[in-house]
Amino acid sequence: MKRRALFKLAACGAAAASCGLARPADRTRLRVNVQTIIDCVPVVVAIKNGYFAQEGLEIDTSTSGGGAVGIPGLLGGAYDIVQSNTVSGLLAFSQGLDVQVIAPGAKMLPQAPTTEMVGRRGEAYRTAADLEGKSIGVNNRNGIVWLYARAWVKARGGDPAKVSFREVPFPQMEDAVRRRNVDAAFMVEPFKSAAVKSPELAVVGSPFGEVQPGTDAGHYLTTGKFAAQNPELLRKFTRALRRGVEWYNANLSTKEAQQIVSEFTRLPPAVLQEIVLPPMPLQVEVAQIRRTAELMRDHGMFAAVPDIDRYINKDLIAP
């Protein structure tokens, strides 16, 4: 609700979006907004290893709490590029805001599940009868976690309208399940791995794996205006980012990568060793975005699926 009004207000801000930042100096500065989560580590890797510098780019990263803050910042001219989850981006696009996808961010791979439904051990969530009347903790309503929790309930034969979805921040989800404030919670790492260490809790489902394996969870976005004015700049950005992703994927299990992740996310190395670090995607999979948009329509987030072909930057991404 809040986010919708916010995005509408952002339409005015879009008109005021800043343009052109060509610096006559040797490097061009790009302001990229990221979250301090594992998904954004490839950007840090690309900066550290000099891939951006080699393309003549200087990346000015700023962090924020997510798409709800990043996208208005993008439209208001505070950033040139933001990392955002798929649902926030599609929601903004569906409201006529000038955002487009330029690079892949994160993907939900079935072979390395990171975000799963955690509940009490021994409790079943197989049939509709098990699920209806229960409560599920999600970090934000109208977000990607909420959407796939609902889709998961439906996939297991339940009616999402009969399940209550409560907002619980990720760090508090384990406590909420243990205290029965919610019956289950859809957790991300590192909270998921930490929670299932308790004997009472266990993974009870893998919503992304069950509903849509390979979901594109996040992307890097920019405004259409910025893309039209700076096509070469964006090509350089995506090239360097790609190299960052490749390095990260090749060095996932090394101490060096763990060190970078630890410094960026502030997760202690001991905690990192307990979790699965999934590889990051090299391509945007448009079919996955379309599927997510269809789910968003089915669950009432918008009336009709927006034109995905106009949502992706065709110069940088194959439709």
Partner: protein, 261 residues
């Protein structure tokens, strides 16, 4: 009577210490509940761990840097909001016409909770220093404004009539009669606003910040490090206490004739 002074002194000392004793008892309860498993949670570290994190944070300078950054922005916003509140308050207090004109706008804006204001402001102010300063100034403004208006209104009518009789100019009346008369109320407003300013700057940092104590608190939770989080909260609590005491000292020196509460 012999021994009375000693027993009075002792009683005073014990009364003073009873407050500290209560705090210590609660901290002991915290420690016991975490260590003995009365409360089992990853987010509930024993208090001694929090003390260690506090010590580490202070030693490395990180906590001091964070607090300095947060308090710095808070004070800038606080000064701006207070100055505007006092200036407008004097104007509206002296001119009923102006007050009637401004009142609907003030009464509409005043109840808006700051957490609701922060996201739309991101569009105009970005995610950074300007946002923090503005939200603090916005929240500081209203209590100071209202208290200043009340202070002007409640000022002694007798003194104002005396000023008129003595043909004091408008400026002199303001400076010598109205302002000093309003100062007690203004200070009350400043003290209220200070508490609000500290809360608001933290909220702004939590919702849309990339630096400062508020952001650190959120980040520590997501990094599964509750002890540093509580250490930062403890720091904040000490800072709030210190700032409040500071304002009381300033009030006492500015208003020696008025029994400051």
């Amino acid at each position: 009577m012999h021994g009375t002074t000693t027993s009075i002194g002792l009683r005073r000392l014990l009364q003073g210490m009873s407050g500290i004793a209560l705090v210590l008892a609660l901290l002991a309860l915290w420690e016991a509940s975490a260590r003995l498993g009365w409360v089992e949670s990853r987010n509930w570290p024993p208090f001694t761990q929090v003390l260690l994190a506090l010590w580490d944070g202070l030693r490395s300078g990180e906590l001091l840097r964070l607090v300095a950054s947060t308090v710095g922005f808070m004070l800038v916003g606080y000064a701006a909001g207070s100055a505007a509140g006092i200036a407008l308050g004097l104007l509206l207090g002296l001119s009923p016409l102006a007050q009637r004109f401004a009142s609907p706008l003030v009464e509409t804006l005043r109840p808006i909770p700051i957490a609701a204001v922060v996201p739309p402001l991101i569009l105009f102010l970005g995610v950074g220093d300007a946002l923090k300063i503005f939200t603090v100034a916005f929240s500081t403004f209203f209590p100071v404004l209202l208290n200043t208006i009340a202070g002007v209104r409640d000022g002694s009518e007798v003194l104002r009539q005396t000023a008129r009789t003595l043909r004091l100019s408008r400026a002199a009346t303001l400076r010598k009669i109205v302002l000093p008369g309003a100062l007690p109320a203004i200070f009350a407003g400043l003290r209220t606003s200070l508490g609000i300013a500290l809360v608001v700057v933290i909220v702004a940092e939590m919702v849309a910040g990339a630096s400062g104590v508020g952001h650190f608190i959120v980040q520590s939770q997501y990094a599964m490090q509750p002890a540093p989080m509580y250490a930062a909260v403890a720091c904040l609590s000490l800072v709030g206490y210190a700032l409040n005491r500071l304002v009381l000292v300033l009030e006492r020196s500015a208003l020696p004739w008025h029994g400051a509460s």
